[in-house]
C-alpha cells in the first residue's frame, strides 16, 4: 500500500466517525422511533409512564403503561432560544465587526479583536456559572420586573417576570457565546476586501461608514449568512450553559419571554438519570432519539453553512 492510500485510509476515520455516530444512534434509537412515530415531534407529553407497573407491549415494543415521549416543548425551547440569540447576535456581531475592521487603528485592532473574540474560547460551563451566579440575580431583580412593567404592552414581554431562569436569559447568554463566531469571520472578510472598491466609493463622495454599509457589506453578505448559520448551529447544540440557566422545564410551552424552558441538548443531560429508572430501557432510547434529531439538525445547519462559505471562498478567489 502506498503512502497516499495509507493516509487516505487513516484519515477516513475522521469522516467515518460522523457516519458511524449517526448510524449507531439510529440503531439504538430505532425501537423508540418505531414506538413514537411522528408524535415524537408534534406532542407535548414526555412521560416515563407508571414505573411500578408491569411493562406492556405496544407496536411490538415493550414499554411502561402510559409512557409517552413527545418533545414539542424541547423543539420550541431550542428554536426560540436560538432565535432570540441569533436575532441579537447578528446586529451586534455586524456592528462590532464594522468597528473592528474600519473604526479601530490597525495597531490596536488585533488586541481588541483578540479580547472580544476570546468570548468564544470561554468554556460553556463557565458561562453557566456566570449566568447562574451573577446574571440571573441581576436580571430577575432589576431588569425583568422593569421590562414586564414598562414593555409589557409588547406581546410576550408582559406577564409574570419569573425567576430569571428562562428563555430570555438563555437567549442573552447564548448571544454572547455565538457573537464572536460572526464578528471574527466578518471582520476578516471586511479587512481582506480590496482597496479598489473603497477608493471607488470614496471617489463618488461616500463617507467612510457609507462605504462600509453600501459597498463592502453587500460584498461579504455570503460570509455573513454562512457564519450566522454556523452560529445558529452552535446555539442549537449548546448544553451546559443552557442547562444551568434555562430552568429545565418539562412538558411546558413558554407563555412569555421570561418563562422557563428546556432545550434538546440540555434535556439529554438533565433527564438521563431519571430515564435510567425505566426498566424497559425505552426512555434511554427515546433520549437517543432526541440526540439523533439534534445531530441531524446540526448536520443540516452546518452542511448548509459550509456550502455557502466554500462558495464564497471560490468566489473571492475569482475561480
Amino acid at each position: 500500500m502506498n503512502f497516499r492510500r495509507f493516509t487516505a485510509l487513516l484519515g477516513s476515520v475522521v469522516g467515518a466517525t460522523l457516519i458511524v455516530m449517526v448510524a449507531f444512534l439510529g440503531i439504538y434509537a430505532w425501537p423508540a422511533i418505531r414506538f413514537n412515530g411522528w408524535h415524537f415531534l408534534t406532542q407535548n407529553n414526555w412521560n416515563l409512564g407508571n414505573l411500578y407497573a408491569n411493562p406492556i407491549t405496544i407496536r411490538g415494543q415493550q414499554i411502561l403503561p402510559a409512557a409517552h415521549y413527545g418533545i414539542l416543548f424541547l423543539i420550541a425551547g431550542t428554536l426560540l432560544s436560538t432565535a432570540i440569540a441569533i436575532s441579537l447576535a447578528v446586529p451586534v456581531g455586524v456592528g462590532a465587526a464594522i468597528f473592528l475592521a474600519e473604526g479601530t487603528p490597525p495597531m490596536l485592532r488585533s488586541w481588541v479583536s483578540l479580547f472580544v473574540e476570546l468570548l468564544a474560547a470561554i468554556p460553556s460551563v463557565v458561562y453557566g456559572l456566570w449566568g447562574y451566579v451573577v446574571v440571573i440575580p441581576f436580571l430577575s431583580h432589576r431588569v425583568y420586573p422593569w421590562m414586564a412593567k414598562y414593555l409589557g404592552f409588547i406581546p410576550f414581554l408582559g406577564g409574570h417576570a419569573g425567576s430569571g431562569y428562562g428563555l430570555l436569559t438563555c437567549g442573552l447568554v447564548l448571544t454572547l457565546m455565538i457573537v464572536p463566531l460572526i464578528t471574527a469571520t466578518l471582520r476578516d472578510a471586511l479587512v481582506s476586501q480590496g482597496a479598489s472598491r473603497r477608493e471607488a466609493a470614496v471617489a463618488l463622495g461616500a463617507s467612510r461608514f457609507e462605504t462600509v454599509w453600501t459597498v463592502l457589506l453587500p460584498e461579504v453578505r455570503r460570509v455573513l449568512i454562512g457564519s450566522s448559520i454556523l452560529a445558529t448551529g452552535r446555539a442549537l447544540g449548546e448544553t451546559m450553559a443552557v442547562l444551568m440557566i434555562s430552568g429545565n422545564a418539562v412538558n411546558y410551552l413558554p407563555h412569555n419571554i421570561y418563562a422557563p424552558i428546556s432545550t434538546m441538548a440540555s434535556f439529554i443531560v438533565s433527564q438521563l438519570d431519571s430515564a435510567l429508572t425505566d426498566p424497559t430501557g425505552m426512555a434511554v432510547r427515546a433520549l437517543a432519539e432526541v440526540a439523533l434529531a439534534l445531530c441531524l439538525i446540526s448536520i443540516l445547519v452546518n452542511g448548509l453553512a459550509r456550502v455557502l462559505l466554500y462558495y464564497q471562498d471560490r468566489h473571492s478567489l475569482g475561480v
Partner: protein, 303 residues
C-alpha cells in the same frame, strides 16, 4: 464653476442640505451603534473574567491544589489529574487519524476522498458535544460495558478533537512552500519521505498549535464527559475501564448548585483553573495562526 452631477440631479438647495444632514446623521448613528456593539462585547468579557478571576482567586488555596475532594470540600487534585488524563488521552487517540487526514487533505488534494473527508470534518466540528457524549454513553459505556471510565471519556474527547487537528494540520502543511516539495521530489524522494521528512518538520510548529488547541477545547468540555467519564473523589488508579474519573468542569457544574460555601469555593477555583488554561492556550495558538493569515490570506481554514 463647473456644474456637478449633484447640482443637476438635486437643484433645490434646501433638499440638498436636508440630505446632507441625513447622511451625517446616518454616519453618526452607524458609528455610534457599531461602537456600542463592540463595547457591549468588551464589557461582557470583562464582567465574565472579573467574576471568574475575583471569586476564583479568593477561593484558591494550597489545600485545593494538593488534596482530593471530600464530600463538598477538600481539594481538586483528583479533578486536576483527571482533566489532564482525559485531555491527553483524547489528543493521543485523535492525533494519528487527525494528522493522517490533514496530510491527505493538504498533500493529496486531488484524491477522490478529499472533498468528503473535508466536508465531514467541517460538519463534525458543529455536532453538539452532548450528542458525542450520548453516543459514547450508549456504545462504550452501555454496549461495550466499559462503565464510566477513562477510555470512554477519552474517546469522546478524541472525536471532538479530530476535526480540529485535521484542519489545522492541513492548514499548516499548506503553508509549506511548493518549491520545497518540488525539490524533494526532484531529488527522487517518494511521497512518504517528502511528507514525513520534509513537510511535516517544516510545518511542525503549526501542527503542534492545532494539537494544543485541541487540548484546550478538551479541557473546557463538560457535556461529552458527564455520561462517559462520570465523577470520582479519588485519584485515578490506572484502570482504563470500569473506573470513573473526576474532572474540573464537572466540579464547576455540580458544586455551584450545592448550598455549602466549601463547595462553592471548589467550583470557583475549578472555573479559574479551567478558564486560565483555556485562555492562555487560545491566545498562544491564535497569535501563531494570525501570523500565518497575514502571510497568506487566501488560505484561511474554515475553523
Amino acid at each position: 464653476m463647473a456644474t456637478t452631477a449633484t447640482e443637476i440631479c438635486a437643484p433645490d438647495r434646501r433638499a440638498r442640505r436636508g440630505s446632507l444632514l441625513r447622511r451625517r446623521l446616518f454616519d453618526l448613528v452607524g458609528w455610534g451603534s457599531s461602537a456600542l456593539a463592540l463595547l457591549l462585547l468588551g464589557g461582557a468579557m470583562l464582567w465574565i473574567l472579573g467574576v471568574v478571576f475575583l471569586r476564583g482567586l479568593s477561593a484558591l488555596s494550597p489545600t485545593i491544589l494538593t488534596h482530593v475532594t471530600e464530600g463538598y470540600g477538600g481539594g481538586l487534585l483528583n479533578a486536576i489529574e483527571g482533566t489532564a488524563v482525559l485531555a491527553l488521552g483524547g489528543v493521543v487517540l485523535a492525533a494519528v487519524p487527525g494528522l493522517a487526514a490533514g496530510i491527505y487533505l493538504a498533500e493529496f488534494d486531488a484524491g477522490r476522498l478529499a472533498p468528503f473527508i473535508r466536508f465531514l470534518a467541517d460538519v463534525l466540528v458543529g455536532v453538539p458535544s452532548i450528542v458525542i457524549g450520548y453516543f459514547g454513553y450508549v456504545t462504550l459505556v452501555v454496549d461495550l460495558g466499559w462503565k464510566f471510565s477513562v477510555a470512554a471519556g477519552s474517546i469522546a474527547l478524541a472525536i471532538i478533537s479530530l476535526p480540529y487537528i485535521c484542519r489545522t494540520t492541513e492548514m499548516a502543511l499548506r503553508q509549506v512552500p511548493r518549491a520545497l516539495r518540488e525539490s524533494a521530489y526532484a531529488l527522487g524522494a517518494g511521497d512518504a519521505r517528502v511528507v514525513l521528512g520534509i513537510c511535516l518538520p517544516t510545518a511542525l510548529p503549526g501542527i503542534l498549535t492545532g494539537i494544543l488547541l485541541a487540548v484546550a477545547i478538551s479541557v473546557g468540555e463538560t457535556a461529552p464527559l458527564l455520561y462517559t467519564a462520570g465523577w470520582s473523589n479519588y485519584l485515578w488508579t490506572g484502570h482504563l475501564t470500569n473506573e470513573p474519573i473526576g474532572y474540573l468542569t464537572y466540579a464547576i457544574w455540580a458544586f455551584i448548585t450545592e448550598p455549602f460555601s466549601s463547595a462553592h469555593a471548589l467550583a470557583y477555583a475549578a472555573a479559574l483553573l479551567v478558564t486560565l488554561f483555556v485562555l492562555i492556550i487560545s491566545i498562544l495558538s491564535r497569535t501563531i495562526l494570525e501570523g500565518w493569515r497575514r502571510r497568506s490570506p487566501w488560505e484561511r481554514p474554515a475553523l
